[in-house]
């Protein structure tokens, strides 16, 4: 898709393909969201900037930005936005588009965790906490993994005592009854969503 600057092509794409994307044009660039976000200083672009970049047609820069991945869904911005934009939802919608387009930043921890979570969940139809935590600890190599695990040891022990973490799950763990039905359901949902968002 060819994008011309400050024309509406990318904005149109966002309106069609991003959850709540039709709100982006209503931003009045007041900067309240940027000032409210606890992540303000730590990420590349504030929501205000992201929305301006969308209007300026900066597709590549928006979809490769780490901002949407940094959003913690605290909803500070949504509560304060004078124009009532569902900013948090738009951020997640943009993240989804960015992933679909293969543009998300490399080694972005939130993105990595998201992937781990998804893979873990879809495998057995339920989340295997032990494997998910270990997967997260060891994502940066074996020795870092040991360090991470040692650091979290007391939390892990506590959870085990409270029967919130079963060490036996390491052996594969249990799944839901109808795994294939579950996969079919996910597949169908994706199809519907993609058709609706013209992402197919």
């Amino acid at each position: 898709m060819s994008i011309e600057k400050y024309r509406k092509n990318f904005l149109k794409e966002v309106e069609e393909r991003v959850e709540e994307g039709q709100w982006v044009k209503m931003c009045m660039q007041c900067g309240v969201c940027a000032g409210s976000c606890p992540f303000g200083p730590h990420w590349e672009h504030t929501p205000q900037k992201i929305f301006m970049m969308i209007r300026a047609g900066k597709r590549e820069e928006v979809l490769t930005s780490d901002s949407m991945w940094m959003c913690t869904s605290c909803y500070n911005c949504v509560v304060r936005c004078p124009r009532k934009l569902p900013i948090t939802h738009i951020m997640h919608g943009l993240a989804y588009l960015s992933k679909r387009e293969g543009l998300m930043p490399k080694n972005q921890p939130t993105a990595q965790f998201g992937q781990l979570f998804w893979d873990n969940l879809t495998k057995n139809g339920r989340v295997n906490e032990l494997k998910l935590s270990l997967g997260m600890y060891f994502k940066d190599g074996f020795s870092q993994g040991i360090k991470n695990a040692m650091a979290m040891q007391s939390v892990g022990m506590g959870m085990m005592k409270a029967k919130r973490l079963n060490p036996m799950e390491i052996l594969g763990g249990h799944g839901i009854k109808d795994k294939s039905g579950f996969s079919a359901m996910l597949k169908k949902a994706k199809e519907l969503e993609d058709a609706r968002r013209k992402l197919a």
Partner: protein
């Protein structure tokens, strides 16, 4: 008037009876104040007290009443005796409320009260009951100059209120700017779409209104007179001149667009595809709902860029420094011309700040909803080549020097320049600037006076000594007391309305014109009764001159802030009572003191100053005279009293109409009588003045700057006379200021003039 009979009433209510020895106050009123009737009363403002006074007036032939009770600003209804001269000694707010209630303060507090009783008696004896100008007449017609939306609104509103109107329009048709618009920004809920201008209906209403007489192709070639009796010559293009008598005037001469030819860097003049907002309205009118075409070749318009603040809010000094407050609305409206016709047209508004007055916010949101793109940025240049333009700008959010290529149409939001005629103070302003070392204005003035230079054209052609048009406030907009009384100009009975007064949109102009029409009507009715217009509305006194004493120095003529004084054929000042606002500036200015009001004169104040009992130099009781502006400083002192703020017992306060009315003789009188200091409290002056009479406090501080010589001549320290700026909100500051000043004076040796 019958023989003068003075009655003094001393109230014992509100704690006065407990705090003060009212019997001795009564004795003072009788012995020193020479009041023929003296009565104490436990509660003077109640029905019985008021009836007592009423009875004395009706049955005892009392002509002059001195009420020693609360501030003259309190109980004005109870004590509203309009058939006698009246003074008020302020014992409550002026004495007991600002002094501590303890044994140590008792003596000085009583002395204060005694002085105020002496002052009140002295004042009232010098007062006369003001009688309205016996020559007061009025013509109940309003002249409206300018037939745009503002002018037509003023005319229609005046007509609906039952007044006849003469409407003079310079061009061949009514309608002004409004008639050149395709549509206007919305004036009704939901404020979402451009709306029909309604100008045609307005023109029809005006032309079919039997109360409104319309002249087109006509100007006011001469206006003389005063409120209630203006004589206007209306000259038409054909050369015919008609004389119209009117009571008041509304000037609604509107604005011209800032000339986009001054903006070649934004591509104006280089391509037909760069237009100003008026240019776009013309294109839209031509398209009349169809697609607006590219002017250069009639091609389709796919992208339009709106450049906000073109030649406005300029900091370089080359263009307009101000915001016109209406062009953002216009750009949103114009972007909708495209979007409503074809949503696929890209419309980009490049702004630094969007100014959306009133319900404009809803309109802005509607523009966003329709897909108008708003980009915060500053346009540096427009390159116009062939059939398209490249708009270079700095994106202020993304901090990016960038550009929009291939714009088919660029619209420049240039601003409003007031059509206000000749700047009557141009020379004065230039001279003041030159005296401060800046010659640019003076050079410009000289150039404008050179042979063959284009002279600004007067709008009103007033035959006033002070010049042919309304004075200008700032940036060429006509006068307005913008803080307190925005319609008021410094020419009584002439009201500016609409964009000639300040930049504004149609909604604001309509409101403005409605208000101005009502002010014009009020001026007519005041003139009929010989009453003052704002801020002393209803005042019947007016300056009287003992012309035999006049030395023709012209100070009154020059200093009157309202241009009320002309010159007669023998070069004596000629007062136009109905132009006068009763500020007393002329009285303060007159070096031979021949100007006075019936109830306010050099004597009414002078005799109060002299009535104060100044203790001798050994008593360690300094006396300080405070002359306080009655509009701000005096009310602030009253409010300080309500808050029980304490201030020095050495001061004696006299309210004045305006510091401008302070005649320097009062200062010399005070110093000669042994006062140790004089403190003047007046409003802020300068560019952001607060003075009700615009120039009064400024003139006062100028006059007082010369008092230094007098002090030196008397061998007195310069700090004995000081002017302070005071605002009505200075409720805590003023008592502090007074105390500091009185400490300062107490530290000086006593005045050597005591006891003379």
């Amino acid at each position: 008037m019958a023989d003068m009979k003075v009655a003094a009433y001393i109230c014992q209510g509100c704690g006065l009876g407990e705090r003060l020895d009212t019997a001795s106050l009564a004795k003072i009123a009788q012995k020193e104040g020479k009041a023929q009737v003296v009565r104490e009363h436990p509660f003077l403002c109640n029905a019985e007290g008021v009836a007592m006074i009423r009875n004395d007036i009706d049955n005892e032939a009392v002509t002059h009443v001195m009420i020693a009770a609360c501030s003259r600003r309190a109980k004005t209804e109870a004590f509203g005796f309009t058939d006698v001269a009246m003074s008020r000694a302020n014992l409550r707010e002026g004495v007991i409320w600002i002094r501590p209630d303890d044994e140590a303060s008792r003596e000085t507090t009583q002395e204060m009260a005694e002085d105020y009783v002496r002052m009140g008696c002295a004042e009232v004896k010098k007062m006369k009951l003001p009688e309205a100008d016996p020559a007061a007449v009025t013509e109940r017609r309003v002249l409206v100059v300018g037939g745009g939306i503002s002018g037509m609104t003023a005319a229609l509103e005046a007509s609906r209120a039952g007044y006849r109107v003469v409407l003079v329009e310079k061009t061949g048709a009514l309608g002004g700017w409004g008639a050149r618009l395709y549509k206007r920004s919305p004036s009704r809920s939901p404020y979402a779409d451009p709306q029909d201008t309604g100008v045609d209906a307005m023109i029809a209403a005006v032309t079919s209104d039997g109360n409104i007489k319309v002249y087109t192709n006509a100007i006011t070639s001469k206006i003389e007179g005063a409120p209630g009796r203006f004589i206007a010559e209306v000259s038409t293009e054909s050369g015919a001149t008609t004389t119209e008598t009117v009571g008041s005037i509304v000037q609604a001469t509107g604005f011209s667009l800032y000339d986009a030819n001054n903006l070649p860097e934004l591509g104006y003049g280089k391509s037909a595809n760069v237009v100003d907002q008026a240019g776009l309205e013309a294109l839209a009118r031509a398209a009349n709902g169809g697609a607006i075409k590219r002017p250069s070749d009639g091609g389709d318009v796919k992208t339009v860029v709106f450049v906000q603040c073109a030649g406005q809010r300029d900091e370089t000094g080359k263009h307009l420094p101000y915001c016109s407050g209406s062009c953002c609305l216009t750009s949103v409206k114009q972007a909708m011309y495209f979007k409503d016709q074809n949503p696929d047209v890209d419309t980009v508004v490049i702004y630094t700040d969007l100014r959306m007055p009133g319900n404009g916010e809803d309109f802005y949101r509607s523009g966003q909803n329709k897909g108008v793109t708003f980009t915060k940025g500053k346009v540096s240049s427009v390159e116009a080549t062939g059939n398209t333009c490249k708009v270079n700008f700095q994106d202020l959010i993304l901090n990016d020097q960038t550009a929009i290529e291939n714009a088919d149409l660029v619209v420049l939001a240039t601003g409003q320049v007031a059509n206000s005629g000749v700047d009557v103070d141009a020379k004065l302003k230039a001279e003041i600037a030159a005296a401060a070392g800046d010659n640019t204005l003076l050079d410009a003035w000289n150039a404008s006076q050179a042979e063959g230079a284009v002279k600004p054209i007067s709008v009103l052609n007033l035959a006033y000594r002070q010049g042919p048009d309304l004075p200008q406030l700032k940036y060429g907009f006509t006068d307005s007391h913008f803080i307190c009384f925005p319609y008021e100009t410094r020419r009584t009975g002439i009201y500016a309305a609409g964009p000639v007064r300040r930049p504004m949109d149609i909604i604001q102009a309509t409101e403005d014109a409605t208000g101005a029409a009502l002010k014009a009507i009020q001026a007519i009715e005041n003139a009929a009764l010989g009453r003052a217009a704002h801020p002393r509305s209803g005042d019947l006194s007016f300056p009287k001159v003992r012309i035999e004493g006049c030395t023709q120095c012209k100070r009154c003529t020059v200093e009157c802030p309202f241009g009320a004084i002309d010159e007669d054929e023998k070069r004596y000042p000629l007062f136009n009572q109905s132009r006068c606002r009763r500020c007393g500036t002329c009285m303060g200015a007159c070096p031979v003191r021949v100007i006075s009001f019936e109830n306010y004169s050099v004597d009414t104040v002078g005799s109060q100053i002299k009535a104060v009992d100044v203790p001798d130099e050994f008593s360690e009781k300094p006396r300080i005279l405070i002359l306080a502006c009655e509009n701000d400083a005096y009310p602030a002192l009253d409010m300080a009293a309500m808050n029980k703020e304490v201030y020095s017992a050495w001061v004696r306060v006299i309210p004045v109409r305006c510091l401008g009315s302070v005649n320097t003789i009062w200062i010399t009188d005070a110093l000669n009588s042994g006062y140790d200091g004089v403190m003047m409290l007046g409003c802020k002056h300068g560019e952001d003045y607060q003075c009700h009479f615009v120039k009064g406090s400024e003139l006062a501080s100028y006059r007082m700057s010369k008092v230094g010589d007098t002090l030196q001549g008397m061998g007195l320290e310069p700090e004995r006379v000081q002017v302070f700026e005071a605002a009505i909100t200075d409720i805590e500051r003023l008592p502090r200021l007074i105390n500091e000043y009185s400490d300062q004076i107490a530290a000086l040796p006593p005045s050597p003039f005591k006891g003379f």
